[in-house]
Symmetry: C2
Subunit: 684 residues, 2 copies
């Protein structure tokens, strides 16, 4: 079976010839020699540094790149769609009509966006391992949190620095990532959603594709466009068939090193339950959008994310219920277990790890509903409640020493916390009520109407009645008030008498209790034992490979090439003429006016989108795709349907990254949008 040519690490080294181009490689551990052997190109340390510093992360969950020395950032439209919606109003809907700043004065601030540039990576494995040595359970979690908080705090010397200790190879390595933060991020260009997301959900994760899923931002500092030391140049020709290309971006997470017990939990419990709930919410929001244009506008972004998630999670579920796929994963695990079992020293150290993880998954099965209902509910669908929970918890946590706090309230995380709590992004009460009604209905359904926590939350009201009364009475939409409460801490929060704050306070003890059970009896057990398994893997197979994705910068290489699908070969490129051929005039296959008008001016043979076998995953959206000379040849925006199994294993024969071709970007900016200034800036 092709798609299983590679599953995880072990097989990689056993039959490496068959798995060319797998890998989300660390910048500080890049397999330059292997690349040279397989593709005849060996990047220098300078090349790697330049690529790293020209790449950026959108803190909210995407990738991007600097594409001019004056801080121009390229990413996907779908990565900035929330911003475009937030700067829109009932009268001016930039999601529909697109946005172009004709001068820097017209660039509009994106309230919730932050851009991070990775300036340094330090190996801190020794410090963390030393701090946690010999500990387990609760003590282990506390010691690790204390050490990582300490390291992060020492690194984050100003509000312009963000520092994260990242656990790699299931805790075998800990690296400290130091970012430069750009908090004033402005929108420069976003096309109309009808061309950015042409084909909509039906075409999502499919290819051929015809999307202009690109947007430009600019980072500002002190009221001026920032000058940046590194940025990518623009390729004149763009991506060519068979060309070696690199994706430098932030893959969010993969599960390629997870144990079978964890995957079985995903397959049997987590994925089906999440899919059922997300699908229902999708139905609610689809129909909510039909209430009117304003509802359609405000629900568009959440609905997009939900539809995207449903498709991605279904792809993962399908991979895990594929009996061939799963049995290969089982074989891989069995091989390692048997290698461990056959060596008494290894067996002594690692032999019990898998069973411990399996027992922790059993525990998770019994607490999952309480955990989801009490702690992982993300404000029961309400942004106001999420803010309230942040304010209540921060008020309590700030009274503790840094090392003893919940990690997300540690000093080093304060900038991120503030960005969330003080986001001036508009909150739409009608949408809030709909989302919260849904979440409270599910709460009641999952735990049952007689559950004490459900009674506490609902306070004898129906889910809808409760959602309405809370959202109408809360004053937390006021950012100024939030700042005051943040500064004032627990007494100010107490005195505010806001019903959302009251609810956040009411549920806090139960939420912390179940979180602690989860951390002590599930999370820490799994982490600790996965650490052992990772170590066993190093002992048995050697060390030079890549870790599972962690939403940190990785470099992947591959070539521009099509793929086989249902017995036919899908070509690597689509062209602008194909876009016009596919347009039916009805959403999601309707072209915006600008494109209908520009038809005669466009070079129809210009490549529009293309695929390459780079190993990417969610989080890579907006990543630059570059050639050997470090020039932009496109921007990654999706994977094909086979890429969804990439969560668990990479198959270079079918798994494809989907990108907007650099030539289509120039062609559109120039001939559809008349954005001469932007074209000039990119080509400079």
């Amino acid at each position: 079976m092709r798609r299983l040519a590679t599953l995880g690490l072990c097989s990689l080294f056993i039959t490496s010839a068959a798995h060319a181009d797998e890998g989300m490689w660390l910048f500080n551990d890049f397999p330059a020699e292997r690349l040279s052997r397989e593709h005849g190109f060996s990047p220098s340390a300078e090349w790697l540094e330049h690529v790293r510093l020209s790449s950026v992360r959108l803190a909210q969950g995407c990738s991007g790149s600097f594409v001019s020395k004056t801080g121009l950032v390229m990413t996907n439209h779908h990565c900035v769609q929330a911003c475009v919606e937030q700067i829109s109003t009932k009268e001016k809907n930039y999601v529909e009509r697109g946005f172009l700043a004709k001068s820097s004065a017209e660039e509009r601030q994106c309230p919730a966006l932050e851009v991070n540039q990775l300036v340094a990576i330090t190996d801190v494995t020794e410090a963390v391992h030393k701090a946690t040595e010999g500990l387990s359970g609760e003590k282990y979690v506390e010691a690790r949190t204390a050490e990582t908080s300490k390291l992060e705090k020492a690194c984050a010397t100003s509000d312009e620095r963000r520092c994260d200790v990242v656990s790699l190879y299931s805790g075998q390595r800990y690296h400290l990532y130091e970012y430069r933060r750009f908090q004033d991020v402005r929108l420069v260009f976003a096309p109309e959603i009808d061309i950015a997301f042409f084909g909509g959900d039906p075409d999502n994760f499919n290819f051929p594709r015809f999307n202009l899923d690109v947007a430009f931002l600019r980072v500002w500092q002190k009221g001026q466009p920032s000058r940046v030391d590194h940025h990518f140049a623009w390729s004149t020709a763009g991506a060519k068939r068979g060309e070696l290309v690199f994706v430098s971006g932030h893959p969010g997470s993969t599960s390629r090193l997870k144990s079978i017990a964890e995957l079985a939990y995903q397959r049997d419990v987590a994925l089906p339950e999440r899919l059922i709930q997300l699908s229902e919410l999708r139905g609610v929001l689809t129909e909510f959008s039909r209430r009117g244009p304003e509802q359609a506008r405000t629900a568009k972004t959440p609905l997009f994310y939900i539809e995207n998630a449903v498709k991605a999670l279904r792809g993962r579920h399908q991979a895990l219920v594929d009996q061939m796929f799963m049995s290969q994963l089982e074989t891989t695990e069995a091989a390692l277990r048997s290698a461990v079992a056959s060596d008494p020293a290894l067996d002594q150290k690692y032999g019990g790890a898998w069973e411990h993880i399996a027992r922790a998954q059993d525990r998770l099965r019994t607490i999952r509903k309480d955990l989801a209902a009490k702690e992982q509910h993300r404000g029961f669908g309400s942004q106001l409640l999420r803010i309230a929970i942040g304010l209540v918890r921060y008020g309590d946590e700030r009274q503790k020493p840094n090392e003893a706090r919940l990690p997300e309230y540690g000093d080093a995380k304060l900038p991120a916390l503030k960005a969330q709590l003080f986001s001036p992004a508009p909150i739409y009460p009608e949408l809030e009520i709909t989302m919260m009604t849904f979440a409270l209905t599910k709460l009641q359904e999952e735990l049952g109407p007689d559950d004490p926590f459900v009674r506490l939350v609902l306070d004898k009201r129906s889910p809808q009645g409760r959602a309405k009364e809370l959202i109408k009475a809360s004053k937390l939409a006021d950012v100024g008030l939030r700042k005051k409460l943040f500064e004032g801490g627990a007494p100010a929060v107490e005195a505010a008498k806001d019903p959302m704050l009251a609810l956040a306070r009411l549920i806090d003890a139960e939420a912390r209790k179940i979180r602690k059970v989860y951390e002590d009896e599930v999370e820490s057990v799994v982490q600790k034992n996965n650490e052992l398994i990772a170590q066993a893997r190093f002992d048995v197979y050697g060390t030079s490979t890549y870790p599972d994705a962690t939403f940190t910068l990785r470099l992947s290489f591959g070539t521009v090439q099509g793929f086989p699908h249902r017995g036919e070969r899908v070509g690597a490129f689509t062209r602008i003429k194909g876009l016009y051929a596919r347009a039916t005039g009805e959403a999601p296959f309707a072209l915006p006016l600008s494109w209908r008008r520009a038809k005669d001016r466009l070079t129809m043979n210009t490549p529009m989108n293309f695929v390459s076998n780079n190993d990417i995953i969610g989080g890579n959206s907006g990543s630059p795709i570059i050639n050997k000379d470090g020039e932009i040849v496109g921007v990654v925006f999706d994977g094909n349907i086979y890429s969804l199994g990439g969560e668990f294993g990479f198959d270079g024969s079918t798994n494809r990254a989907v990108s907007v071709h650099s030539s289509a970007i120039i062609e559109a900016l120039d001939k559809v949008y008349g954005a001469r200034g932007l074209v000039k800036e990119l080509r400079r």
Copy 2:
């Protein structure tokens, strides 16, 4: 693990003492001796006949009972809810306000309801086996269809007879069921939905419960209430703790004898996919209901069915992903396989059956999306299209000899077909558009926008655009027109130029093609080999047991008793006082005005609902629950949460049927609704 005390048949005989009361027994093969041994009661042939003839089936999918000699039928409110909605109008919403006919003149006809009374059962195994001997695949299906059509036609001598050949024990036995049909069914009494379904979805499949989920119908003939020869008397005391009780009803289907390969397909593919799609539709209809009271009224019934289905299917999925549960099923199958393998004669006959079924499931995995999209779509959510498909196909099928037709168009099935096609139940265009838009969106999503069938159906429109144009232009809401087209056959259908008929015609060839692939390569292979496995089971373990449920009349025995739940014992009864304690005033825990007003008149200690360990499943809704004397002690309306695993195996220690107590019915009719006439008729 308690819930696995019994799984299917084999284990039943190995450790029968532990599994008292399992079984959905055939009336013509009832284990009277076993009942006598275990419960000290041995029903006579007359007793069984009286119970059978006093029991009825609602052809649309429920059970019921005759409870007076003038044709009064008792069933559940949720079984007649569609009728209550259909006789309602914007002005008079009987779903909300309830319905009581004060005289027979006020009884209202239920347009889509039909009542069937089982008058005879004949064993026709020999004839069917002879007709199919030595055949397989397509030939097997054709031969079986021809033989059963012939038998059914010979039996159904008038429009007042319905005859079905029923396959039992996976085709080991074929019985011919002969029903008397009552097509003029009128509504006598239905309470307000707020009391019928008090607690709504949160309480559904749970206990304690406080529902008055009962309704009364009456069968009429020639403009008069029918006189019936058999009916159940009413118990004065009602159900008592520990009492032996019987449920006589029509369990819809179970999968207790299915092979592991089939269950794996359900667990991995069918159930998750169905749940994801149903959940999204649930969200759509929930939000659709918020458009206004008329939308809420028209969507109430479909929404109820969807919510009910989601809960039931989730319960099944949870049973199958329970590793203990599944491994016991695997052990049961392995035991039979190994018994077969160890005997060369058995191995020769049956050894390959499991593998053939597994290969058929693999085939099903590859064709399932096409099958669902092209043939099993049930009119893409549109009743008008379902009617159109029925008219187009009947027009074609009637030109063939009876034996060569698709079974649902055989002569013996014509009454049922007509009941469906000529149903005067209102069709609501706004709801139709919403349902069809959803289904067409999913069609596009599942097969992709480039699929030729999708292009054929959508005709270059968006799902919503297409649904609107079809539903607005179709004239098939007119029952008179349907009758004309039915009589006129293919030429009339062709000449009608109705867009729904045109669409039905357009997709018919593709639909038949994929259906044939399914029947030849999946269905017939599975049936044939399950027949072999059933035979092997008889050979190895003996024969006296019950077959999987088939929506035909079964008798189950058990006792009134509570059950253990999360470490506590749930009592067998709830009482009217508990209903008032649980009422919060907000839906779904709001009492209707009639009950708020009647509070002081009611005897608070009257039993409201109760549980018993009878082995039931969906389709049993509305079944009479009777005592040894054949008297009504309640009406079954639900199972507890543990009953959902009953699809695959019965655990008498936790699986419970939930019934409305007979005393609550009398108390409510008398003191809440002032329905003296009805009370008198029941007690007569």
